[in-house]
C-alpha cells in the first residue's frame, strides 16, 4: 500500500549509520541475487549465440521444455479449481474441521519436496502399496508423466488457496449475502460477485504456482526416472547436462528458467500495482458514497 504521509524523516540515526546499513544490504543483494542471475546468462552466452541456440533446440532439451509446459498446463487448472473451492469454503462458511483443512492445505509447504516425491513412490512404486495392482493393469504412474504431475500438484497445492483465503476473509461475505437476498443463485453469486473481487489475487496465486510448477526439482526428481527426452523436466535436464560437463547446455536451459522467473516477477509487480489501483479506487468510491 502506498503511504499517504508526505516525506518526513522518521529515523533518528546518524546519516553514516543509515548509509552503511543500506550499502551493506545492497552489497548482500548483489552478491546473493544479482551476480548469480547475471552469471547464468553469462555462462549460457559467453561461448556465442550459436551454441546457445543449438543447446536449446537439441531434441532432449525441447522434450524437457515441452514436458515442463505440459505438466504446468495440467497442474495449474487443478490447483486453480481446488484452490478457489477451498478458499471459498474456508473464507465464507463456518464448518467443523475448518482448521484441520487449513493445516492440510499448508502441509506441502512444511514437507520437504523430496519427501513429497517419496510419498508417491511408496504408494505407486513397484514395491509400493498399489504397485502390484497398477502393474497388473499396466498403468504407469511414477517414472511417467502422471507421477510428475502428481508431485507438481502436491508442491504447488497451497499457492492459490493461501493467496485467496486472507483476501476473501478481509472482504467478508456481505456482498454475497446481498446478492443472495436479491435472488441470485449460488453460481451467479460466485461468478458476478466473488470472482471479480478476487481476480487479481487469484492471478497472483496462479503466477506463483506456475513458477514453482516449472521450477520444481526435488519432488519431480524422485518420481521422474530421468529418461532422456521423455521424463526429464527442464530443472532435471539442467542437472544432467551439468553433470555431463555440458556447461553451455546446462546454463542455456537454466537461463530459460531464469527468464521465466523474471517474467513472473514482472507480471507479479504489474498485478500488485493493479491491486493497489483497485484498492485506491475502492476507497475513493467508498468515501464518495
Amino acid at each position: 500500500m502506498a503511504t499517504q504521509i508526505a516525506h518526513k524523516v522518521v529515523t533518528t540515526e546518524a546519516p553514516w549509520v543509515r548509509y552503511t546499513l543500506t550499502g551493506l544490504a545492497l552489497v548482500l543483494i548483489s552478491f546473493m541475487l544479482i551476480i548469480p542471475l547475471f552469471s547464468v546468462f553469462f555462462e549460457a552466452l559467453h561461448q556465442g549465440w550459436g551454441l546457445y541456440q543449438a543447446a536449446l533446440v537439441e531434441s532432449d532439451a525441447l522434450a524437457a521444455i515441452q514436458l515442463t509446459l505440459i505438466v504446468a498446463a495440467i497442474a495449474l487448472p487443478l490447483n486453480l479449481t481446488f484452490g478457489v473451492a477451498a478458499a471459498w469454503a474456508i473464507a465464507k462458511f463456518e464448518f467443523k474441521g475448518k482448521s484441520l483443512l487449513i493445516t492440510l492445505i499448508d502441509l506441502p509447504f512444511a514437507v520437504s519436496p523430496v519427501v513429497a516425491g517419496l510419498i508417491y513412490v511408496l504408494l505407486f512404486g513397484a514395491q509400493g502399496w498399489w504397485g502390484e495392482w497398477l502393474a497388473e493393469h499396466n498403468i504407469k504412474v511414477i517414472f511417467a508423466v502422471p507421477g510428475i504431475v502428481l508431485a507438481t500438484v502436491f508442491v504447488t497445492f497451497p499457492f492459490v488457496a493461501r493467496e485467496l483465503i486472507p483476501l476473501m476473509q478481509a472482504q467478508g461475505s456481505d456482498e454475497e449475502q446481498a446478492a443472495l437476498v436479491l435472488g441470485a443463485t449460488g453460481w451467479q453469486t460466485f461468478w458476478y460477485v466473488t470472482l471479480p473481487n478476487i481476480k487479481w489475487g487469484l492471478l497472483y496465486g496462479v503466477i506463483l504456482a506456475n513458477a514453482r510448477a516449472m521450477g520444481e526439482f526435488g519432488a519431480v526428481s524422485v518420481v521422474s526416472g530421468h529418461i532422456r527426452g521423455m521424463t526429464n523436466t527442464v530443472p532435471l535436464h539442467v542437472e544432467i547436462l551439468y553433470n555431463e560437463y555440458n556447461f553451455v547446455g546446462a546454463f542455456a536451459c537454466a537461463s530459460i528458467l531464469a527468464l521465466l522467473a523474471l517474467l513472473t516477477l514482472a507480471i507479479k509487480s504489474y498485478i500488485e500495482w493493479r491491486t493497489e489501483q483497485q484498492a485506491i479506487a475502492d476507497r475513493r468510491s467508498a468515501t464518495q458514497a
Binding site: I70, G125, F143, G225, H226, I227, M230, I240, E244
Partner: protein, 336 residues
C-alpha cells in the same frame, strides 16, 4: 474460446506424440558417466539391428548415480536392460525388486561385464607433489579428491584399491591396510556424492592435488578440460573394476522385448562393440581389440574384487552401516 481450445488441443497432442512410439523401444538404465560410451554404442547397434531385422529400434536412456538408478528400477522404472558400475547394484534389484532373476552374471561371458576400468591417479600438470603411487597419497601435504564410498561405486573402488594395494605391500597384514586406508581418507578434504561431482571439484573448482577415479573418466576429463591441464599417473597396482550388465527379466517378459534386449547386451562383446569401448577408454575383453589399442592401456598389475570375496562380501565388510569405512570415518573425525 475456440482459439484457446485449439491451442490446448495442439499442446496436448504434441505432448502425446512425445510419449507414443511406433517402433521397438528399449530403455537402458545406466549410471551417469556411461552416457558417453552408450552415445557412441547405440547408433552402432541400431545400424546392426536395423540391417538384420529390417525394423526400427529406438533406445531410451536414463542416467544418474549407479545405486540411485538401481533403486528406481526396484521401484518400477521399466528398464529393459541395466548397465551398472558394480554387481551389488544389480544384486539389489535381484533381492529387493525381484525384477532380475538369480544367476544373471552367468548369462554372459566375463561375469556379465563386457569391459572393465580401473582406478588411476589424476594429478595437476607437471605433477608438482610428485605423486607416483598409492603410498604418496598419505603424505601430510597432499589433498586427495574421492567421491563418497557410501554413495558411489567409484568411491568404493578407490577404497578397495587403496586397501588392496596396502595389503600387497605389507604381505596381507589387515591392520596395516586399515591404517593406510585411514591415512588416505584423512587426506580427503570433502567427499562428493558421485564420480562426476568429484571430477568437477578437482577440475572446475581446482581443489586438491590428486583425484582418484576410473581410467575412462580420465579420458572424459581430457576431452572436456583439455589434455594439457592434468596428468594421469598409473599406480604400481590397481583394482579391476568390472562394469556389469543385465537384462531385466520381469520387464522384457512383460513388454516382449527379451530378444532385442538380449541382443543389445550380447553385441557389447562383438568386435564392433569392443572397439567402441576401447575408443571410450574402457578396457576391452576381446584380445584382438585389446592388442589394437594396447598403447592407450598400459599393462598394470590388477587385482579384482574377488580378492575380498566378491563385491557383496566387500560391501558387508567395508561399507555397510557401522562397518570398517564408518569406523575409519569416525576415527578421522575424532582426530580433527
Amino acid at each position: 474460446m475456440s482459439k484457446f481450445k485449439q491451442i490446448v488441443l495442439a499442446i496436448s497432442l504434441s505432448g502425446f506424440s512425445a510419449f507414443s512410439w511406433a517402433d521397438t523401444t528399449l530403455l537402458n538404465v545406466s549410471y551417469d558417466v556411461m552416457r558417453d560410451f552408450y552415445k557412441d554404442y547405440n547408433p552402432v547397434f541400431q545400424k546392426y539391428y536395423e540391417a538384420k531385422y529390417k525394423d526400427k529400434l529406438s533406445i531410451q536412456q536414463s542416467h544418474g548415480g549407479s545405486s540411485k538408478q538401481a533403486r528406481s528400477v526396484i521401484d518400477g522404472l521399466e528398464a529393459d536392460v541395466v548397465t551398472m558400475n558394480q554387481s551389488t547394484d544389480i544384486d539389489a534389484i535381484v533381492e529387493k525388486g525381484r525384477q532380475i532373476n538369480l544367476g544373471w552374471e552367468k548369462k554372459y561371458a566375463d561375469e556379465a561385464a563386457p569391459f572393465s576400468s580401473m582406478q588411476v591417479l589424476i594429478v595437476r600438470k607437471g605433477n608438482p607433489k610428485g605423486i607416483k603411487d598409492w603410498a604418496d597419497l598419505i603424505k601430510p601435504n597432499v589433498q586427495v579428491v574421492v567421491p563418497n564410498p557410501k554413495t558411489s561405486g567409484n568411491g568404493r573402488y578407490t577404497f578397495l584399491a587403496a586397501w588392496g594395494a596396502a595389503l600387497k605391500q605389507n604381505g596381507g597384514n589387515e591392520a596395516k591396510a586399515r591404517e593406510f586406508t585411514r591415512a588416505v581418507f584423512a587426506n580427503v578434504p570433502l567427499l562428493d556424492a558421485g564420480g562426476r561431482a568429484a571430477t568437477t571439484t578437482f577440475m572446475q573448482r581446482q581443489m586438491g592435488d590428486v583425484l582418484v577415479t576410473f581410467e575412462n573418466e580420465a579420458e572424459m576429463i581430457a576431452r572436456e578440460f583439455g589434455r594439457g591441464n592434468f596428468e594421469v599417473v598409473y599406480p604400481s597396482v590397481s583394482i579391476d573394476a568390472d562394469l556389469p550388465v543385465a537384462v531385466v527379466d520381469k520387464v522384457v517378459d512383460k513388454r516382449g522385448t527379451r530378444k532385442v534386449a538380449d541382443e543389445y547386451l550380447r553385441y557389447l562383446w562383438s568386435p564392433e562393440g569392443q572397439e567402441v569401448a576401447a575408443q571410450n577408454y574402457l578396457r576391452p575383453r576381446n584380445a584382438a581389440v585389446a592388442a589394437k589399442y594396447a598403447k592407450q592401456f598400459p599393462p598394470i598389475k590388477l587385482f579384482g574384487v574377488a580378492e575380498f570375496g566378491g563385491m557383496k562380501a566387500a560391501q558387508k565388510k567395508f561399507f555397510d552401516d557401522g562397518a570398517i569405512y564408518d569406523q575409519i570415518s569416525a576415527e578421522i573425525a575424532k582426530k580433527r
